[in-house]
Every structure is written in structure tokens, then in C-alpha cells.
């Protein structure tokens, strides 16, 4: 049966219901006729409105139908007229709102094979989600949780950003994640410090000092400490790295670490000496050259900078330093 025909039936039923009210029959019969005809009209009009409604309202159709029927039935005639106005509204605006929702689109065939790959969330995505305060809380929480599993310097900066969030739940979660990371390193430090008190042999002491120097540095590098505490950790890292060098002989990793600490403090000459020492002790060129290039940059010695970055071609392909090496390494900028 066509839509138009059903509408005609509905209107006829409604007219019959109104006619029943003005009919000369006894009141009980008037009421009976009215209820039957009006119920039919209400049901038909509600079903018709349901048909022309946008597809996005397809869920809970029974409840929607019940709403329409109750309004049309308990507000006689006007309720039905209201449904007809809604039908016209939906029919007129349906073209504009008939837009397939993303979730209703089928996956293209070539993507179906890879559909088992879990959707991840990179740092960039997490940053953008966390910084958008308008997003619903679940999405922002998900971003925070997704990124927290990776760890690292950038992630910790993100967690620090989240600790100042206006949303209590996000702030608390960020504090918790931050605290957890900090606890891992602090535990390692206190364990090593405890062992250091007991151990007598210089080789073992050197090994523990090395661990302590790296742990303290991790606190600084991963942005787990700030301000005064950061200075303290830097001091401790330098202290234990120096002790490790004295006790265990020359260690390229410790020399490099001391060089990096000097670089952090802006002591470029001492930093250069230590990093060159690390290089002479056998540190990989890819590990030391970026720092030497950085020292050259702070001295505005761009030629030396280019030379350093040209020495190791693999640098161009490393994440982070790659684009820097590509720009400065070609020396074309000098022309």
C-alpha cells in the first residue's frame, strides 16, 4: 500500500472519530466509535511518520512509535496534525540530513584483510585529543591511557600537560601514571643505593655507580623532575658517573653522559672534551656526532656542524635527528 493511500486512510479515520463526537448516538457509543477510529488514525499517522524519519533515528523504533501514538491519541486531532507537520518537515529536510554516518559505511574490500589490526593512537593524536577540552571525557581518557603505555620523554611531557587539566578524572589519571613511572625509577635508585652501602669490590661498586648515574639521568631526561629537584638529580648523576669512571676505568657511555650533563649546563668546552673522549673510547659515531654538532651550533660554527653531520650518513634516516641531519648535512644552505 502506498504512503499517500495510508495518509488518506489516516485522515479519513480521524474525520470519522471527530464525526463520532458530534453524532446523535448515546454517549457510550460515541465514545466507543471515537476511540476505535481515533486509535486507527493515531497508529497510521505514527507509522507513517516513522517511515519518513531519517535513518539515524532507526534505533528503538517501538519506543518512538509509542511516543507518537501516545501524543496523537491523548491530544486528539491536534496530536495527529502535529505528526503530519513533522512528516512534512522530515520530508522537506530529509535530503539535507540524509548523510551516511561513518559507522554505517562498509569497509572497502582491500581493507577488510587488514581489519584485524587494532587501531592505535600515536603521540600526535593523543596530544590533539588531550588539548581539545571540548572532547568527551572518555575519548580524552582513552588518549591518555593509549599514550601512557609507550613511555618516554615526550609522553611524560604529555602527562605533565594532563596534570593541569580542568577535568578531575583526567588530572588524577595523569598524576597516577606519572607517579607510577617515577616510582619505577625511584625504586631502582633506592635499591642500588642500598646495595652500594653493602658492596666492597671496586668493579661491583663501579657497576652500581653506573646504574645510579643512568637512573638519575633518566629522571632528568624523561622530565620526571623539575626545578630544584632536577638540579639535584643532575648533580647526583654527574657525581655517580664520575665515580663510575674512577672506579671502573674508562667507560664511553659514562664519558658521554658526563658530556651531556655539561652540555645541559651550558659548559660547552667541558662537554666537547668529554664527548670527544667518549668517541675516542669507542662510542658509536651516530651516538656522539649529534652532540658535537649541537656544540658547534651553539658556537655558531656552522661549517663544523655540517662536517659532523656529514661524517655519518645513517643519521639522515634516524627519527628525530633525521630532518636536522638532512638540512645541515647537505651544506647546500651555505651557497
Amino acid at each position: 500500500m502506498s504512503w499517500g493511500l495510508l495518509l488518506v486512510f489516516a485522515l479519513l479515520s480521524q474525520t470519522a472519530a471527530v464525526w463520532a463526537l458530534f453524532s446523535p448516538y448515546p454517549q457510550a457509543m460515541q465514545l466507543g466509535l471515537f476511540v476505535v477510529a481515533h486509535l486507527v488514525a493515531s497508529l497510521l499517522l505514527s507509522a507513517l511518520l516513522l517511515m519518513v524519519m531519517p535513518h539515524r533515528f532507526a534505533r528503538r523504533r517501538t519506543w518512538v512509535l509509542l511516543l507518537f501514538v501516545s501524543v496523537a491519541f491523548f491530544i486528539p486531532v491536534l496530536g495527529g496534525l502535529g505528526l503530519i507537520v513533522d512528516m512534512v518537515y522530515f520530508r522537506m529536510t530529509r535530503k539535507a540530513i540524509k548523510r551516511p554516518e561513518f559507522h554505517s559505511l562498509k569497509i572497502p574490500p582491500f581493507l577488510e584483510e587488514g581489519s584485524h589490526i587494532a587501531q592505535g593512537m600515536g603521540e600526535g593524536g593523543a596530544w590533539s585529543r588531550l588539548r581539545t577540552v571540548d572532547l568527551p571525557r572518555p575519548q580524552r581518557l582513552k588518549a591518555l591511557l593509549a599514550v601512557s603505555t609507550t613511555g618516554g620523554r615526550k609522553v611524560n611531557r604529555l602527562l605533565r600537560l594532563a596534570t593541569g587539566d580542568t577535568d578531575d578524572e583526567i588530572r588524577l589519571l595523569a598524576f597516577n601514571l606519572f607517579d607510577r613511572q617515577e616510582k619505577v625509577v625511584t625504586q631502582a635508585i633506592s635499591q642500588n643505593l642500598g646495595e652500594l652501602k653493602k658492596v666492597r669490590g671496586s668493579a661491583q661498586r663501579a657497576e652500581l655507580c653506573r646504574s645510579l648515574a643512568l637512573s638519575y639521568w633518566e629522571m632528568v631526561y624523561n622530565d620526571l623532575a623539575q626545578a630544584e629537584l632536577q638540579n639535584f638529580f643532575v648533580e647526583q648523576s654527574l657525581n655517580y658517573a664520575s665515580q663510575a669512571c674512577e672506579l671502573g676505568g674508562d667507560d664511553p657511555a659514562m664519558a658521554l653522559l658526563i658530556g651531556r650533563i655539561h652540555l645541559l649546563r651550558g659548559q660547552t668546552d667541558q662537554a666537547e672534551a668529554m664527548i670527544l673522549k667518549a668517541q675516542s673510547l669507542g662510542a658509536l659515531p651516530a651516538r656522539v656526532l649529534p652532540y658535537l654538532a649541537e656544540i658547534a651550533y651553539t658556537r655558531r660554527d656552522f661549517k663544523a656542524l655540517t662536517d659532523y653531520l656529514q661524517q655519518e650518513t645513517s643519521l639522515k634516516h634516524k627519527p628525530g635527528i633525521g630532518p636536522v641531519a638532512q638540512f645541515w648535512g647537505v651544506a647546500s644552505w651555505q651557497k
Partner: protein, 456 residues
């Protein structure tokens, strides 16, 4: 949807006398517009129907039916008014705007079915011997008016006062025009005109929500989930609405002060008219109330809680709290001052006003005490609003419960004491409720920082 505070501040920003006047006039129209329109429309329908509808008693029957429908619908919808407003406010705070439309529809289904289920047996009992059409119209009016209140509370929660006012203007305008045309069809004609107006008003408000807050779902019952609607607010809304109407109901159904009007419905010719007029006198107080709450109070309230949430310094938090307390006190004093002036005007010029309106001077003492009472009602509203902002739900429950009980008891007592005491029940109950509210507010504001930090 822009908040009303934003528009008021825009007017105030001009920093001129005319800008200030405009802001107060706007606040007055916005805050009192819907119910002033309702009162004026009912009065006008009555005035132009009297010469045509014979006998004139029919107009009184129409007004009594309408008042009963409005009172009953407010009490019934009072169960969900505040709790659903809070539900919507929580959803807006959590940026879950997509839940507003489907849950409004869910609530409308619930209210429609419950209202009809209550109204159908009642019209059979209350209106014996009346025509089928009249009974059907009464049921339809009751269901529609209940739905109108639901639409109004959602739009009030969204601070879309302008949309409410425009829709009320349209709805009552249509009702007036139709009543003029249908007045020859007696009571049924007038009720049909009112019903059409209310239905247009209802659909208009739905359209505003539909356009402003689109959703993927059409109907949901998320508001019924555990913890979504506060039970204390359910009772508060119910108590408040019964509290507002209980003195009228006592006067309608006490044999000394009432007379039968239609079916089992009764009216109080002594009490109704002065109350009707007294409610018009609260427009200035409502304007001050809206201005103070939506501009100054909200500004410092936001700053205080933002400072608490974002870790502001203790000095700044103290400063903002002091400002908030100062604005609250000033706001309540301002309402009292302006209502004081209105009361003085009515005391001095009340007799002349009644003479102009063609009403007997016998109503003057009652009108004077009712104006005092309605003035206190604005202060009471202001207090409740501040408690709502501070989320002291138990306080509001206590105050509305106290007001409801006292208003019922004291109104009954005033009838026993004699005509000179009529109206004192309503006024004294409000004075007591306001005094208790003030003491509690004072205590709460003193302990605000402690409770904000320690009891969350």
C-alpha cells in the same frame, strides 16, 4: 544557545543609564514573560467572552478549569522539573549534548502516559454529566500543559529564555485570537482555543531543542538510570509546587471561603483575584533576581570554583569567595528593596488600582498582604537558587518541605481566625522559610571553603 547572562552583560557593558534600564527591562520580560502572558491571556479571554458567552458563569468555569489544569500539571511535572533540569545540566557540563533530545523525548512519553492515566479517571469523577467533548478537551489540555512544562524546564536549563518567551507569546497569541473566534461555542470553544495555543507552544519548544541540540537517537531513557536523577530533587520539585498552590487549594476547598464552580471543582471568589493581581507585582523583583544571579553571582561563582579546580592560590580563592558572598547578600537586599517599593506602592495606591480595574475595595487588605507574600516568594526563589548553585540539595529539600507544610497549616489556621487573617498563612509561611533559609545560607557561606575542599 547563548546564555541569558551573556546578553545581559552585553547591555550592561554600554555603561550608560539607558543600557542599565534596558538590561533590567529585558531581565524583567525574560524572567516574568511566560507567566505574565498566561495571566494576561486568561484575563483577556475572560473579559471579551463575558458579553458573548451566556451565562457569564461559563467564563468563571473556564478560568477555574484552566487554573486547576495549570496547578495540577505543575504539581505533577514538579516531580521531574528540578531533577531533569539537573540531569540536563550534568549532561551539558560533560559535553554530552547528544543526550538532551532523546531523553527529552523519553520523558515526554513517560509524562504523556502518566498524565493521561491520571486525567482520564479524574474527568469521569470530577465532571459528572459533562459532555464527552468537554472531558476530552480537559484531558488533552492537561497532557499538553504537562508537556509544555517539560519543554520549558529543558529550555530554562539551557538558559534559552528568549526561545521560551517567543514561544509563549506565539502560543498565547494564537489562543487569544482563536478564543475571540470560538467564544460563541461556549466552554468547549474557549478550551479548544487554549489547547491549540498550548499545542503550538509545545511544538515550538520541541522544534527549538530539535534544531539546537541534534542527536543520532530519537528516544532514550538514560535519565532513568541509577544515579542520573537525584531523589532529593524529585521531592524538592514536588514540595515546591505543592507549597506554591496549597494555600489556594485550602481556600478553594474550605466550605467558608469557596463555592462550587463546575462539577466537583470549586473556586474562592475572595482569595483568587487578589492572588492573581499580586503575582503581577513581582515582575521588578524577578528582574533584579535574574540580573543579579545571571551576571554578578555567576561570574564570581565560576571564578571561585575554577580557582578551586585549577589550583588557584588560597588568597585568590578567599577573594573570590568574599566577592560571591557580597554579591549574594547584595542581590537578596536588592530584591527586598525593590519589592519593598512595590509593596509601598500597592499599600498607598492599591485602592485606586482596584477601582480602575473595576474590582471591589473589599479585596484591598488581602491584596496588600498577598503583595508582601509574593515579594517574599521572590526572595525565597533567590535563596533556593543560591543553594542550588552551591549544590546544597538537602537544604532546598528542607526549606521547600517547611514552606509546603507551613503554608498548608497556616492557611487553614488563617481561615479559622477570620477574614482579617486571610493571606497571612501564605505570607507568614514564606517569612519563616526565608528566615530559616537566610540562617542556613549564612552558615553555609561561612564554611564554603572547608566544605568545598574537605567534603568532596
Amino acid at each position: 544557545m547563548a546564555g541569558i547572562g551573556f546578553e545581559l552583560r552585553k547591555l550592561l557593558r554600554r555603561d550608560t543609564f539607558s543600557g542599565l534600564m534596558m538590561a533590567y527591562a529585558y531581565a524583567g520580560v525574560i524572567s516574568s514573560g511566560p507567566w505574565v502572558l498566561s495571566i494576561v491571556a486568561v484575563l483577556i479571554i475572560g473579559i471579551f467572552s463575558v458579553p458573548v458567552v451566556i451565562p457569564p458563569d461559563l467564563v468563571r468555569q473556564f478560568q477555574t478549569i484552566l487554573t486547576t489544569i495549570i496547578a495540577a500539571s505543575l504539581i505533577l511535572s514538579g516531580l521531574v522539573q528540578l531533577s531533569f533540569t539537573r540531569y540536563c545540566a550534568d549532561r551539558i557540563f560533560k559535553k554530552e549534548h547528544g543526550l538532551l533530545l532523546p531523553n527529552l523525548n523519553g520523558l515526554l512519553l513517560l509524562v504523556t502516559v502518566v498524565a493521561a492515566a491520571l486525567a482520564i479517571p479524574l474527568v469521569i469523577v470530577v465532571f459528572p454529566g459533562s459532555s464527552l467533548i468537554l472531558r476530552l478537551l480537559i484531558v488533552a489540555c492537561f497532557v499538553t500543559v504537562c508537556n509544555v512544562w517539560i519543554g520549558t524546564i529543558l529550555l530554562s536549563g539551557l538558559k534559552a529564555y528568549k526561545a521560551i518567551l517567543v514561544n509563549f507569546l506565539l502560543g498565547y497569541g494564537i489562543a487569544l485570537v482563536l478564543a475571540w473566534g470560538l467564544r460563541h461555542w461556549d466552554l468547549e470553544g474557549l478550551l479548544l482555543a487554549f489547547l491549540v495555543g498550548q499545542f503550538v507552544l509545545f511544538k515550538g519548544m520541541l522544534y527549538v531543542v530539535f534544531k539546537g541540540y541534534p542527536s543520532r537517537h530519537f528516544i532514550q531513557f538514560d535519565f532513568l538510570r541509577a544515579g542520573r536523577m537525584y531523589l532529593s530533587l524529585v521531592f524538592t520539585g514536588f514540595f515546591y509546587n505543592i507549597g506554591i498552590w496549597i494555600d489556594k487549594i485550602v481556600f478553594w476547598y474550605h466550605p467558608w471561603t469557596s463555592e462550587p464552580v463546575i462539577g466537583l471543582l470549586r473556586g474562592s471568589p475572595i482569595y483568587d483575584l487578589p492572588v492573581f493581581i499580586a503575582y503581577l507585582a513581582i515582575i521588578p523583583g524577578m528582574a533584579v533576581f535574574l540580573m543579579r544571579i545571571e551576571t554578578d553571582f555567576v561570574e564570581y561563582y565560576d571564578r571561585f570554583y575554577d580557582a578551586v579546580r585549577e589550583g588557584g592560590s588560597l588568597g585568590y580563592i578567599h577573594e573570590m569567595k568574599d566577592e560571591m558572598v557580597r554579591i549574594t547578600r547584595e542581590g537578596i537586599y536588592d530584591i527586598m528593596k525593590i519589592q519593598g517599593v512595590v509593596i509601598l506602592l500597592v499599600v498607598v495606591a492599591g485602592g485606586t488600582l482596584l477601582q480602575w480595574a473595576g474590582i471591589s475595595r473589599i479585596h484591598l487588605p488581602l491584596l496588600q498582604i498577598q503583595v508582601v507574600a509574593t515579594g517574599f516568594q521572590v526572595v525565597f526563589l533567590g535563596l533556593l537558587n543560591v543553594f542550588f548553585y552551591l549544590d546544597r540539595r538537602n537544604r532546598v529539600l528542607l526549606l521547600t518541605g517547611l514552606f509546603m507544610t507551613l503554608n498548608g497549616l497556616l492557611s487553614w489556621l488563617s481561615i479559622q481566625l477570620g477574614p482579617f487573617f486571610y493571606g497571612y498563612g501564605f505570607a507568614v509561611s514564606l517569612v519563616i522559610a526565608v528566615s530559616v533559609g537566610m540562617v542556613l545560607l549564612d552558615r553555609d557561606l561561612d564554611r564554603l571553603e572547608y566544605e568545598t575542599f574537605m567534603l568532596q
